[in-house]
């Protein structure tokens, strides 16, 4: 009996500890978000750093975003054709690909790619700066680390991720087009008509709003994990993994929340 009680209390303690850590994490991320918004309008703007980061995040991500969006568009077309051909309705593949890409897959896949590629690198860079005391050095040189390190990355991400998402929309639709026109035999004109006619502005802007939220999540989580890194190289590795895992979870969770929100707004 004593053993069971002690095991149960151990379990309760562990759950309580995890819960407290979660609250602490949420608090830390919220404080960093608040500090970022506070420093955002304060000059200097650091345009050079923002452009540098945009190039790292946007231009360098183009090949992988292109490949994944193209294949996703093709797979979507093939999978939906498999169902639709039973009703001889293959021409609706175009609308299905366009809706799925703009509303859901382009924002989510782009965000996951950026979180894995860029979020991880931001955490590793800031984490290394933290463990080698470069962040302390910034403060001793009377420079706020949030202003100097987080704000340019934040600006670059919130500008670049929606642009990448628009690009992924386009490439995904091309992927669907290739399958629709060259494999399923839908005519060019019919495919284009079935893509653009049913597509509404709302489908595109809801996707872009999602991508903006995802960009904020990626930036704040990656920078927070980096700036609280401790324990040398091992700590940097741990923080980088945590950054990607937490970003992935938050992206998917907020996607679910935003999809529900837009669904109810649109009714």
């Amino acid at each position: 009996m004593k053993k069971i009680v002690s095991k149960l209390s151990g379990l309760a303690g562990m759950l309580g500890h995890r819960f407290l850590n979660m609250i602490k994490y949420a608090g830390g991320v919220s404080i960093l978000m608040g500090q970022t918004l506070f420093w955002l309008p304060i000059p200097p703007l650091r345009l050079r750093q923002i452009v540098e980061q945009m190039s790292k995040i946007g231009v360098d991500s183009l090949p992988i975003v292109s490949m994944i969006s193209l294949f996703t568009g093709m797979v979507l077309a093939l999978q939906s054709a498999y169902q639709l051909q039973r009703f001889a309705a293959e021409m609706y593949v175009a609308a299905l690909v366009a809706f799925s890409m703009t509303r859901e897959l382009a924002p989510v896949l782009t965000a996951l790619i950026v979180a894995g590629r860029v979020g991880a690198s931001i955490t590793a860079e800031l984490g290394t700066m933290k463990v080698t005391e470069q962040i302390d050095a910034l403060e001793t040189l009377a420079t706020n680390p949030v202003k100097y390190l987080v704000v340019p990355r934040f600006m670059a991400l919130v500008i670049t991720v929606p642009i990448l998402t628009l690009y992924a929309d386009f490439i995904g639709i091309i992927g669907g087009y290739l399958v629709g026109v060259y494999k399923l035999g839908v005519s060019h004109a019919m495919y284009m008509k079935n893509t653009w006619d049913p597509l509404k502005y709302k489908d595109i802007w809801t996707g872009l709003v999602k991508s903006l939220v995802f960009a904020i999540i990626i930036c704040v989580v990656a920078c927070y994990e980096g700036m609280k890194t401790e324990g040398g190289a091992e700590g940097v590795g741990r923080a980088t993994t945590a950054s990607v895992v937490v970003s992935f979870i938050l992206i998917i969770a907020s996607d679910c929340f935003l999809t529900a929100l837009f669904y109810f707004i649109g009714r």
């Binding site: 080698t132 005391e133 470069q134 302390d136 050095a137 001793t140 040189l141 009377a142 420079t143």
Partner: protein, 252 residues
């Protein structure tokens, strides 16, 4: 003058600073000695306001630093220069951008004046023609010297050195000691160094303070510390394997 009054600080329940009292006079070089991990660097970070104490006060020229807001702290830090243990140079910037960092960030100085000042600071630490190099291309000793050049670039009134001779060979270590003395004489700054290198401590210090178990247990001139009767200080400065430090319950 820097006055540290009854400063306490703990991390995760472990009391690192346990009532520190120390006064550092203007223009003096004070060396804080103590075993690795005893809280010397933590104390240094409290002095420059990177860490806040749980309780106690740190007065810089009479003003309590622990009660300052971000803006006041920023202004105060402009008076400090700090050399980090691993130099903490910004990897993504060149040597020039590192040394000129505070000028680029906080002044409207033109490029030519900046270049002149960077050259001047680098020559003060015995380096030249490395402005375009990245920190990764430099040796450990050179990185420390560039770190020192960066710290003195904006004419500090107070210099902090975190383990200035750790991680460099003995000859480079002595060269760094000479640099610290030279800078102190030329710039007339108040200097605080933390180290466990006694050769360095004797050479650069006007006064030595020993940190042990979160408290300052002895303060004196190098000669007074050498002649100490305190068994803890004696064991530390002689580097004896046996004594009250290693016999103590906290020895691990």
């Amino acid at each position: 003058m820097i006055e540290i009054q009854d400063v306490h600080r703990s991390f995760d329940g472990h009391q690192v600073l346990n009532g520190i009292n120390l006064t550092i006079n203007t223009g003096e070089t004070t060396v804080i000695i103590g075993r690795s991990g005893c809280g010397k660097s933590v104390l240094l970070k409290h002095i420059i306001g990177l860490l806040k104490p749980d309780s106690g006060r740190i007065l810089i020229n009479g003003k309590d630093e622990t009660k300052m807001d971000e803006k006041e702290l920023s202004a105060l830090r402009m008076k400090f220069g700090m050399l980090f243990q691993g130099a903490a140079l910004f990897d993504s910037l060149t040597v020039f951008e590192n040394v000129a960092f505070s000028m680029i960030e906080h002044t409207t100085m033109d490029r030519t004046t900046m270049k002149k000042r960077v050259k001047e600071c680098l020559s003060l630490v015995g380096l030249k023609d490395i402005e375009d190099k990245k920190p990764a291309e430099l040796s450990g000793g050179m990185r420390k010297r560039v770190g020192l050049a960066r710290a003195i670039a904006r004419w500090p009134q107070i210099m902090l050195y975190d383990e200035p001779t750790t991680g460099v060979d003995p000859i480079m270590g002595d060269a760094i000691n000479d640099l610290i003395i030279d800078l102190h004489n030329k710039l007339k700054v108040t200097s605080i160094a933390v180290t466990h290198d006694m050769t360095s401590a004797y050479k650069i210090a006007d006064r030595i303070a020993m940190l042990y178990n979160g408290k300052i247990i002895a303060v004196g001139t190098p000669d007074e510390i050498k002649a100490t009767k305190d068994p803890v200080v004696k064991q530390f400065i002689t580097g004896a394997g046996k004594g009250p430090i290693t016999d103590g319950a906290d020895f691990n």
